[in-house]
Structure formats: structure tokens, C-alpha cells
């Protein structure tokens, strides 16, 4: 028993030593709690699996610097056990607030209870947990994928206002079963079902990738006699589809109107060339919002349980202006 305790203690100290060694590069914030009012935040990121995620990380780091908050950053490399380890070490270091983007939805109760016992508030970003005990985290800041689908539908309804001809829509879904794919599909479907002229004639998964988006779109172009609108669940699939449409001798954005979600730089470039009609933003730049929230949580202010990131809808006339400022 004592052997195990000793081993655990040794492991814990090593971890703290390693983490504080990493953190010391930021400028000796070891005992920020005692001296001054500088907040220390432990942030555990999912990983660096996409450009969107990298932009998300950078936004959080920059915002922390700007807000004068000491950020202890840990990359979980898409593994839950790494994230749990990181949160435990944050607790031992007595950070003021813990923020993290959960890799998966379940299995967080134990470690979140430890944080609660240590009186450290937890803020979730980008992704949610399915814990039944709502007292385990203070708030959840992130995108609402259903809302994104609805925005895409709203634009379409407005675009075809006053016209009575049938509108044939093809849909490129994200990875089958993923939350963004399910929610963007249902949000969009909810809005367009109010008008019978809108018809989704084909809907297939493009796995969120350019290659698949192009391949599926090529098949659609041949099997569907008339396509008026393409709704893609992310920009990469839309960009692949743009190529397929061009190779079929049609003009993307004119002959086939294109709605896409995310708003990465390449998509903005395509939109400034008129090849995409509208981009529903899924904003990874939630750093500033997160830092505000952390300050409020620490000050004991009441915050809403669910906060949606500020996200816009970009149309072609805004694309050229927005392009130079896109960070991802």
C-alpha cells in the first residue's frame, strides 16, 4: 500500500516537474496565486488534427497573452487519458480556472469531481461532456452546429424568395455519425421543409475531405438531371465539388449555387472569385470570449450554462474585404 502511494507520489511529482518546466518558458508564473492578481489558467486542447484546431489553439494562446492571463497549455494528442492527466496536474498546481475541449463526451465525472473538490471552476470549450451532474462545470462555450445548418437554410430561403420554381439541392454530408454532420443536416432540413419548392434530391457523405467531395459531386453531376444548389457541410468538400463542377463545364456559384460551412481561408479565396455563394462561419477564434468568461467565472459572477460563439454568415460581397483578415 505504502509502496503504491510512494510510486503515485513520485509519478505526480515528475509530472508537475515536467509541466512546470514547460510552463517556465512563459516567464516564471509559478506562484502567481500569492503575488498580484494575475490569473493562471490550465487549458487542455484536443490536439492539432486540423487547420481549424490550430487556429483555435493560437487564438486561445494569443487571447491569454492579451488579457494578461498565465496560460498553462497542454496538447492531448486526441487521447482522453492525456487530457485527464493534464487536468490532474492543473489541480495540483492550483491553477485558478481549468478550461478544456473534451476529446470525447463521456468519462469525465471522476476528474471533474476532483477539480470541484479543489474549488477550481471548469469551463468547456468547443465540445461538450455528457455528465449528468451539471455542477461539475461552470459553462460551455462553443459553436452550435444546428444553428449553423439553420443559417445555411435561412440564406437559401431568402435567396429564392418570391420564386416558385422547384429548387433541386444536393447535399455533401460530413463524416457519417459525427455531431457536426448530424446537426448541420438537421438544422438545414428544418428550415427548408417549410417550403415545398426546396427538394434535396441527393445526399451523400464526403467525409469532410476534398477528394471525396469532388468524387461524390462528379457522380451527382451525372446522375442528377438538374442541380440548382449545393450544400456542403464543410469547406473542404465544397472546394472539391467546385473543381468537379468546373470540369463538368459549369460555373460554380452561378450555374450551381454553393453554400458551405466553416469559413477557412481557401474557401474565402474561392468565394472572392465568385465560386462559392455563401459561407456560414464556424468560428475557432474563441480565445477572447473564453478569457472574458474565465475572468467572470473566477470573480464569481453568474454566467449562462451554454454560451454560443459569435459566428457570422459571409456573402460574396463581404468575401474580398474579409479575406486579408482571415487567420486560418
Amino acid at each position: 500500500m505504502s509502496k503504491r502511494a510512494a510510486a503515485a507520489l513520485a509519478a505526480a511529482t515528475t509530472m508537475v516537474a515536467v509541466l512546470s518546466a514547460c510552463g517556465s518558458g512563459g516567464g516564471g508564473a509559478a506562484d502567481s496565486k500569492g503575488s498580484g492578481h494575475k490569473l493562471t489558467v490550465g487549458f487542455s486542447q484536443v490536439g492539432a488534427e486540423s487547420g481549424w484546431r490550430t487556429a483555435n489553439t493560437k487564438s486561445v494562446q494569443d487571447a491569454a497573452k492579451k488579457a494578461g492571463i498565465t496560460l498553462k497549455f497542454s496538447d492531448a494528442q486526441q487521447k482522453q487519458e492525456n487530457q485527464i492527466k493534464a487536468i490532474r496536474s492543473f489541480i495540483q498546481q492550483k491553477v485558478d480556472v481549468i478550461a478544456f475541449s473534451p476529446v470525447v463526451e463521456s468519462g469525465w465525472d471522476t476528474v471533474l469531481k476532483e477539480a470541484k473538490a479543489a474549488h477550481i471552476p471548469v469551463v468547456l470549450t468547443d465540445r461538450a461532456v455528457d455528465s449528468k451532474d451539471e455542477s461539475l462545470y461552470a459553462t460551455f462555450l462553443g459553436s452550435d452546429f444546428v444553428e449553423e445548418g439553420k443559417k445555411a437554410g435561412d440564406w437559401l430561403v431568402k435567396e429564392y424568395q418570391g420564386k416558385s420554381d422547384a429548387v433541386n439541392i444536393v447535399e455533401l454530408q460530413g463524416t457519417t455519425g459525427s455531431a457536426p454532420a448530424n446537426d448541420r443536416k438537421s438544422g438545414f432540413a428544418d428550415v427548408i421543409k417549410t417550403d415545398a419548392k426546396f427538394k434535396i434530391t441527393a445526399s451523400q457523405t464526403g467525409d469532410f475531405t476534398r477528394a471525396k467531395g469532388k468524387e461524390v459531386m462528379q457522380a451527382f453531376l451525372k446522375s442528377q438531371p438538374k442541380i440548382d444548389v449545393l450544400y456542403a457541410h464543410n469547406d473542404d468538400m465544397a472546394l472539391g465539388a467546385v473543381q468537379a463542377i468546373e470540369e463538368a463545364g459549369k460555373r460554380p456559384g452561378t450555374d450551381i449555387k454553393i453554400i458551405s460551412v466553416d469559413g477557412v481561408r481557401d474557401a474565402f479565396t474561392a468565394m472572392s472569385q465568385g465560386k462559392i455563394n455563401v459561407l456560414v462561419e464556424c468560428n475557432p477564434l474563441l480565445g477572447d470570449q473564453l478569457m472574458d468568461l474565465i475572468k467572470k467565472v473566477k470573480a464569481g459572477e453568474q454566467v449562462p450554462r451554454r454560451i454560443k460563439t459569435e459566428e457570422g454568415v459571409f456573402t460574396q460581397d463581404q468575401a474580398a474585404a474579409a479575406l486579408p483578415t482571415r487567420q486560418y
Binding site: 487547420g51 490550430t54 457519417t176 441527393a202 457523405t205 451525372k222 481557401d266
Partner: protein
């Protein structure tokens, strides 16, 4: 005619294509659009070209009773290196830049193949383990190369490899056809094919007969990696971007499936290049069929699984014999290996 080993795979391919006509009447129509051929059949060949190449390399590896799981990672690494080289160059559109990128990507692919070859042939690691190492690590390397981002390139000469046209045909189709032709000439007009089969069939006997198994096995892994490298260039060129995370994901499994559908036995000792090409086309046609007839994405995999099971059963002489309630039961050897075609004209 039904005795020919390619008969049943060809029947399945034809049946799949005909099934599409029911839903899309002008499925077989091929038109000239913007100076190049345009139609569903062209699409199938075009998107099937990388898979044909990867499966071609896989066929030879499997003929030596090996397996190469690392091809998907090689696809990703080759595409990533080429796109990174082009996007970093001063003039992305110059042929010299593109040639440099191609040489770099294929050079690295050859090195990866050499690593596999040495591990399997010299060190004696089991092929599935040896190539698993690169399969797992390689995708990480590809993401490291691209820094986790999707690298987009605008370069007309590079676009030609996977997305361009030459003599009204997609260049990728012509290139894949040329590689298939060359490989079949090399393996079937020389003794090379026979030697590969003998190494796969019985390594000890081959060695005692004076065949240099080590060199041959190393060679097939080199060839497999080279094919995967070219496929990686095609895939990234077709969409003008490199995606380290997704390019060539699971293509090793599709390639193995193509080889099996084509009637090559996984136990090694024989192979059919023509069968592999048909197998790869069956897989690609299956995908197109799913999009054309609108099978919901949730059930796509089940649909594909049923087709694959059906193809395997139809190809099995034992199954056909049972189904037809023929008098003669097939021999033990074929009954226990239902994927192996009946005829035994090895190296024909």
C-alpha cells in the same frame, strides 16, 4: 469460357455497371466536353487509377505471400512532400519545380519501400508487422510534413498528373494503363512472375532451387511503395492539395480487397494482374453506384459488404458447385480455399 479465371470478376463488374443504367439511363454515354472525354465511365477509370496502381503493387507483394499495410501512409507522405515542395517554390507553375517535387516524393517513397523490404527480406520480420510500423508512423510523418494543415497548390503542370487531360483522356488513366501494361510484360514475358510465385509458394524450395528470394522480396516492396507514391501524387494533384490526415486513408484495405476480388490468393504463390485491375474497378464502380442510386450513407458500408460477399461466393468454385447441385464435389484443396480460382495455369 467460364473456366477462365477472370470470367466471374468480369461478370460482376458488368452486372454492377448495368445496374447503374437502370437508375441513370445515359450512364454509358461518353461525350466530348471542353476537348476531353466526359462521362461516368471515365470518372470510374479516373478515380480508380490510384487504386489500380496501389493494388498492382499489392498484387506482387501478395504473390510472395507478403502484405503491405503501409501504402496508405506512403500515399499521404508522397502527396504532402510534393505539395509542400511546390508551394514553397519561387515559381510553382514551372515544369522544373514540378519535376523536382515528383522526384522528391518518389525518392522518399522508394526509401520507405526499402525500409519495408529490408525489414521483411533481411531482418525476417513478418510482413504484416513490418509494414504496420510504417502504416502507423507514416501518417504522423505526413501530418508533420504539412504541419497539420491542408497544403493547397496552384500549379498547372502538377495538376496534369492526377487531374489533367492528355489526348482527350485523363492523364491518370493513361499512366495507370501504361504501368499495368509494363508490369504485365515484365512479369509474364520474362521469368520474373514465375520466380515471384515460386518464392511465395514455397520459399525454402525456391531457395534450394537457387532463386534469390531476398532480392526478389525486397524488390516487390520497393515496387509497391513506388506505386503508392505515384498514387499519392495523383490523389493530391486531382484536388490540388495535400491532406496528411485523410489522403489515402484505408486505401491499403481497398487495395487488398481489389487483389482478392481479382482472384489472387492471399496465401501467395500465384497472382493475376488483370484480375486486380478488374477488382479495383469493381470497388470504384461500387462507390459510384452508391452515389448514383442514392443509398443512404448510414447503410453504404452494409451494401458494400453484401456485394463483396456475393462476389467472393460467386468466385468460389466450391460454392458454385454446391449452388448448381453438380454431381462432382470439388477437391479438398479448392474447398478449403474458396477464394482461389479453380484453374491452375500458374504463370500462364
Amino acid at each position: 469460357m467460364t473456366k477462365h479465371r477472370l470470367f466471374w470478376p468480369a461478370v460482376v463488374l458488368a452486372a454492377l455497371l448495368l445496374a447503374n443504367v437502370v437508375f441513370t439511363p445515359d450512364f454509358f454515354a461518353i461525350r466530348i466536353k471542353d476537348g476531353h472525354l466526359y462521362g461516368s465511365l471515365i470518372d470510374i477509370l479516373h478515380f480508380g487509377a490510384p487504386l489500380i496502381l496501389v493494388a498492382l503493387g499489392m498484387t506482387l507483394v501478395i504473390a510472395t505471400s507478403g502484405i503491405d499495410l503501409s501504402v496508405g501512409s506512403t500515399v499521404a507522405i508522397a502527396g504532402a512532400l510534393a505539395c509542400l515542395h511546390i508551394s514553397g517554390a519561387a515559381d510553382p507553375a514551372s515544369p522544373a519545380t514540378v519535376l523536382g517535387a515528383v522526384a522528391l516524393a518518389l525518392g522518399v517513397a522508394l526509401v520507405l519501400g526499402a525500409v519495408n523490404g529490408v525489414l521483411v527480406a533481411r531482418v525476417g520480420v513478418q510482413p504484416i508487422i513490418a509494414t504496420l510500423i510504417l502504416m502507423v508512423a507514416g501518417r504522423g510523418v505526413a501530418q508533420l510534413v504539412t504541419d497539420g494543415q491542408i497544403v493547397t497548390v496552384t500549379s498547372e503542370p502538377y495538376k496534369l498528373i492526377g487531374g489533367g487531360y492528355w489526348l482527350t483522356m485523363p492523364f491518370a488513366i493513361l499512366f495507370a494503363a501504361a504501368v499495368v501494361l509494363l508490369t504485365s510484360l515484365l512479369t509474364r514475358r520474362t521469368a520474373l512472375g514465375l520466380l515471384l510465385e515460386s518464392v511465395g509458394g514455397n520459399p525454402v524450395a525456391s531457395r534450394l532451387a537457387g532463386i534469390r528470394a531476398t532480392g526478389l522480396i525486397g524488390l516487390v516492396y520497393l515496387f509497391s511503395a513506388l506505386c503508392a507514391g505515384v498514387a499519392g501524387l495523383m490523389i493530391s494533384s486531382n484536388v490540388s492539395s495535400a491532406d496528411g490526415n485523410n489522403a489515402g486513408l484505408w486505401i491499403e484495405l481497398d487495395a487488398i480487397l481489389a487483389v482478392v476480388l481479382g482472384g489472387t490468393s492471399l496465401t501467395g504463390g500465384r497472382f493475376s494482374l488483370g484480375g486486380t485491375v478488374i477488382g479495383a474497378l469493381i470497388i470504384q464502380t461500387l462507390s459510384t453506384t452508391v452515389y448514383t442510386i442514392g443509398i443512404p450513407p448510414e447503410t453504404t458500408l452494409v451494401f458494400k459488404a453484401f456485394v463483396v460477399i456475393a462476389v467472393c461466393l460467386i468466385q468460389s468454385p466450391a460454392f458454385r458447385a454446391k449452388a448448381a447441385r453438380r454431381r462432382a464435389r470439388p477437391g479438398r484443396g479448392t474447398a478449403s480455399r474458396p477464394l482461389t480460382p479453380e484453374n491452375t495455369e500458374v504463370g500462364a
